[in-house]
Symmetry: C2
């Protein structure tokens, strides 16, 4: 079968650019015992995968991605041929496979069954009902614990995680402020996601603007980016603040370690907590979170924000857009219907 793939043409220098990827065409091979052929419907673009694009970047989670091969990523697809026990043809799966039309899942590949509930679009399983939704849910509920009337600040507030975290905080009765880059995005945070207020994190007088937006201080900082914003925010945290630290887009793709916040002692003065988390450690509790998010979606209390690209050949552009700040909501590429 003809298979369009997007390969890693060269290792990105810092932020990925479309030229780092190449579109190639090949043929699928026959599957062996234990394997399955998956027709990819959607590819999820996640900044975290940048981690394995550098030479020697392999870790105890995954090896470094090889040059010239289809880029590793999270996909949602349908099984079209299976020699893997327990995996039926026609079933939907979410798996760590690659940017291509057809993938072969080999034994040991991460792969979970997805139920098509007929209610929510399948692509939601890559976003609000998938890892990014889970990150928002557990980070906010378990670590942030916003109380009604408290002030919650979300960085990358329009992103895949942030857009969900902001909405959950709002449902919990908090006053919710979002950071985004640029006035247009700030407007969209308020109009499309329901933030009470948005602050352009590129503003020169950022500290001043933050003080005005959060006159009682910041009770919860849902931090999706790390980096230099932490120092500005720490100056404005309230007594007993909680900082769920979810990811660090600001750190991905940088060639060297940045400068850390010089005012971490604020954690002491304010008796505050900063807690890092990786959602996969909570996998037992995914059903609980998914049920709740599904119910909110069905009741129209929360919206799934997706930025959908068409065609597998656009994976490189979509991925690069994430780092250029051109994303809003969960970035997904539709590969097939």
């Amino acid at each position: 079968m003809k298979n369009i793939q997007v390969t890693l043409a060269r290792r990105p220098a810092g932020k990925p650019r479309p030229e780092d990827f190449a579109v190639v065409e090949s043929d699928t091979r026959d599957i062996s015992e234990g394997e399955a052929l998956v027709r990819n419907l959607y590819v999820s673009l996640d900044a975290g995968f940048r981690n394995w694009m550098d030479e020697g970047s392999g870790d105890n989670v995954l090896p470094a991605m090889p040059l010239g091969q289809a880029v590793m990523g999270l996909v949602l697809g349908q099984v079209v041929a299976s020699r893997r026990p327990g995996l039926e043809e026609g079933s939907y799966v979410m798996a760590r496979l690659a940017w291509e039309q057809y993938s072969i899942a080999t034994p040991g590949d991460f792969l979970v069954d997805i139920e098509d509930d007929g209610v929510h679009p399948l692509s939601y399983h890559l976003g609000i009902l998938g890892d990014t939704g889970m990150s928002a849910y557990f980070g906010l509920i378990d670590i942030g614990k916003p109380a009604p009337g408290e002030t919650v600040l979300v960085s990358a507030a329009g992103g895949a995680v942030g857009s969900v975290a902001g909405q959950i905080a709002k449902l919990r009765g908090a006053r919710v402020i979002g950071f985004a880059g640029g006035d247009d995005k700030c407007r969209r945070l308020v109009e499309e996601i329901g933030y009470d207020h948005a602050v352009n994190h590129r503003a020169d007088d950022l500290s001043q603007r933050l003080a005005e937006a959060c006159p009682n201080g910041i009770d919860v900082y849902f931090d999706n980016v790390g980096g230099p914003l932490q120092e500005v925010v720490l100056d404005h945290i309230a007594q007993g603040a909680r900082i769920p630290f979810c990811g660090a887009v600001a750190d991905y793709g940088s060639q060297e370690r940045g400068k850390g916040p010089s005012n971490l002692f604020q954690l002491v003065t304010k008796c505050a907590l900063m807690q890092g988390f990786m959602t996969h450690t909570q996998v037992d509790r995914y059903p609980e979170a998914r049920r709740q998010l599904s119910a909110w979606l069905a009741a129209g209390q929360i919206r799934a924000i997706e930025q959908m690209y068409q065609g597998v050949e656009n994976c490189g552009v979509a991925f690069s857009d994430l780092f250029a700040g051109r994303n809003f909501g969960k970035t997904v590429v539709r590969v097939a219907d």
Copy 2:
């Protein structure tokens, strides 16, 4: 009555030095309604008071200390005359008063009654049974939560808080490593306090030494100092690490903010937690902690380490020694018997 006082002669530039303080003699005045005259027995030296020695350093806790007046500090004394309702002559009190032989407690001054239990020396109420012991107890038990066999690292491991935290961690069955400045202090950590191992934090190959001392990573970092050590330690934390952040001696007395840790993202990768705390927020639970520490002391399972100076005139030297790293255990000045 003649009263020897130690005053703030000039504002310290960075770390306090003995010349920043002056010994003067005055006379006590008569007390007014609501006041009490306290004969100070012990003065507690605590790095935190450095905070209020700078021009304009007043905050919502306390005003900046005025020049030329007795230095504010925590004392333990006996009431010799009282016009304060509920405060009896002859009783013992711990209070935020000053470096002097006699202090007048005015209405509103922080002051708590101390029971002389006839078992433990009164001075212990400034250390292991006082705020520093409470800091060690709550920071380690509530935030650090060491499990048997885990690795606990303590910075300023021989200090007032660290010497207690290290011993509690040991009682909890952890393997306990201490940071101290200099080989002599490191030896004392092991011999006098019972640390399993000590690491000289001034070593050139610190990261390497830490890796050797903590081959399974650091499960709990009881951080008494903040500053540059944080970055080194973060590189070696174990999955699920907890960092009770207790104070920041490294930050007191510095003229500008230092450089923060550039690898805070380790908190995410390791799903780790850093939590600042100020013990006074736990004041309701002091009796619980004090009972436990008293019991351990009585059973000989824990030792109170004190560095005792003689004579109120030595308060400035004792305080300066704290910042010069010449302290071991709780620093106390005996003013009278």
